[in-house]
Symmetry: C2
Subunit: 422 residues, 2 copies
Amino acid sequence: MLKVALVGFGTVGQSVARILCARPAAGLALTHIANRRVERKRVGWVPPDVIWTDDFEQVVGSDADVVVELIGGVDPAAEWIRRALAAGKSVVTANKQVIAQCGEGLLALARDQRRHLLFEAAVAGGIPVVRGLREGLAGDRLVRVEGVLNGTCNYILTRMADAQVSFEAGLSEAQELGYAEADPSADLDGADARAKLAILTLVGLRRRIDVEAVPLASIREIDPIDFVYARRLGCTIRQVARAELLADERLLAFVRPALVPLTSNLARIEGNQNTVVVEGAFGGEASFSGAGAGGGPTAVSVVSDLEAIARADAAGHAGWPSASSAEAVEREFEAPHYARFIVADRPGIIASLADVFSRHGVNVDAVLQEPGWSKSELPFVVTLERCSSAAVGEALTEIVAFDFHARRPVWMPILASGGGPS
Amino acid sequence: MLKVALVGFGTVGQSVARILCARPAAGLALTHIANRRVERKRVGWVPPDVIWTDDFEQVVGSDADVVVELIGGVDPAAEWIRRALAAGKSVVTANKQVIAQCGEGLLALARDQRRHLLFEAAVAGGIPVVRGLREGLAGDRLVRVEGVLNGTCNYILTRMADAQVSFEAGLSEAQELGYAEADPSADLDGADARAKLAILTLVGLRRRIDVEAVPLASIREIDPIDFVYARRLGCTIRQVARAELLADERLLAFVRPALVPLTSNLARIEGNQNTVVVEGAFGGEASFSGAGAGGGPTAVSVVSDLEAIARADAAGHAGWPSASSAEAVEREFEAPHYARFIVADRPGIIASLADVFSRHGVNVDAVLQEPGWSKSELPFVVTLERCSSAAVGEALTEIVAFDFHARRPVWMPILASGGGPS
């Protein structure tokens, strides 16, 4: 019987405890629950012999076999995980920031200690993607992992697409439904998805990256009109987190809004769901989809990790890349692009844009304009032939300086449905 | 270094050998290739020390650690797997019929022998769903596993939906593309998907079922007009393989064409792809999608199993249900239904149908009729309120006897997007 100490008794911790209490036969015994000011957390439905404490030292000094870290944040969680491993305990965590930032060192410590450090719940809770990539697709050589990894963003984007609500209204709805934090910056601007992408890169591509090196772009500037044009192009818009091994083994990574074909796996995931899509050199594309967040699904991932340890599954000890230096992250890529402008209309605007794009070696593919808009705030879209994202960025920096803009221009790559940006 | 003997050197066997030769560092060494009349199979790209043989006895008597069984069919594959395990070897197989029909006994033998018997490739090759259900979602209590498990059927159905081709034309296309066998009965009539469903039921619901007890219905009678009506109902048509634990713990299972909402995970899988959707009591719905067949994807699943054995993953020895008797399979269920008729029109037909349905306690919800069809072969659809599938079957048996039919009527349940048939 594996003795389990829960550290952190919020939504996920309570769901973990509920599963452990509902399925007592699974070889797992809940022995400790630790939380700050634990008295206000006490519930009557856990076994009476569970020890409640607000002192992590009591957990470290206990006979628990596994510490489940659910307090979130890097400090003190990373240090507590380190101390638990050093004390000879295995650790299960749902903490994406700790694994993304300090996972390599903690895994090395777990290996040295012959203990497990498992983190299925840190990416896409309820979707067994860490195990799927590490073990289920171990026989392939994965060349791309990407996903819709933030349910808040996906909820807002699908509401904008389906109900033509503004970004602000979509965000308010998400907050009312409890999908978005009071400060939603980490969701909207990509830091949340970036941490998950770093973990998937480690697990799937077996490359360690410096989280901060992954470029981000926010979904805040997406407007409902962008979905009208995206649909004309056979696409919709998603916050895409992608890591890809290029042919020369450089590693491309980004988190940003992008157009994706309506027929792609990324487009098919709607509402606050998550999906992870991988491409293997031998097996082609596979995808994993589900809730991605929430107490129940995240707790299922935590308990699955606990059961893996109970099975004395040795896989947690080995198979991790032991390189200690982070891979360089390639930030620029080639793809067709979408650029949306909202202008105070006057003659010569298209010519001015075309001139700038041309000087940066970027070819205009088409100009799209929906009828029926005011001349003073006229939206239109320029699609660009396959070109480097750096060139588009430089051209746009120059274009922003023109005085005809009624709103700041927005640009996004148009991602192909399989393979890299096409 | 794990010594691997390949038995069967067809498409999948060759793909497995290619991966093993392309990634020599993975702790796996290909030592034997066995096939009938092996001389015609020899290739130059495997290491020169590989032993080629057409004698299985030579494999059983060899020092190979793992036998990979890729000959297909039950006889002699099941006996060969038994002999390999008895000889102290682990076994990896892609053989859905053997696992569906004899899996329980073979797993017990593997357990007794302290050897592995792994079969990720037997269901949905390239999609790590066996490991995903057994380990990744081990922390949940799954109550439903279902899927689109036959790429041939799904290719035909999506072609019928998208290009309005007839069933026969869709089948011919599938055969030309190599997706369908010369005799496609096992695909079209459900036996292929049924074997896979039996395995998913064992792995996900931890219930053993008698494969023959799962009722089948063929997709052969689906007509392009059914997609027109399905779309009017917000649905499309899929060959659905479903196993579900009912509230009273009875096990419902079937393989049959069914209407599924366009927004469901089952509807989203197109062409010759496969998907598996599971519902857990704690974690809700998760899905796994990908190729499902083909040399490369299936070989990835085989090699992933080999790597799991190389990691000395003990999970293969334990965790299987050891019940030796098969669960009873519930064949009937309640759902709204779709019934399509093609008739030589005359007054009183609807009244006749309504009378029969009414006598069987089945309420008509709506009658749908698209304009523009000939009176002599007039299609229309009757939707039925939630009722038992047995009652619909009995009513239709009676209705078939009327003389106004120009074609045999077709009926299907309308499945809800989550949960059981609603």
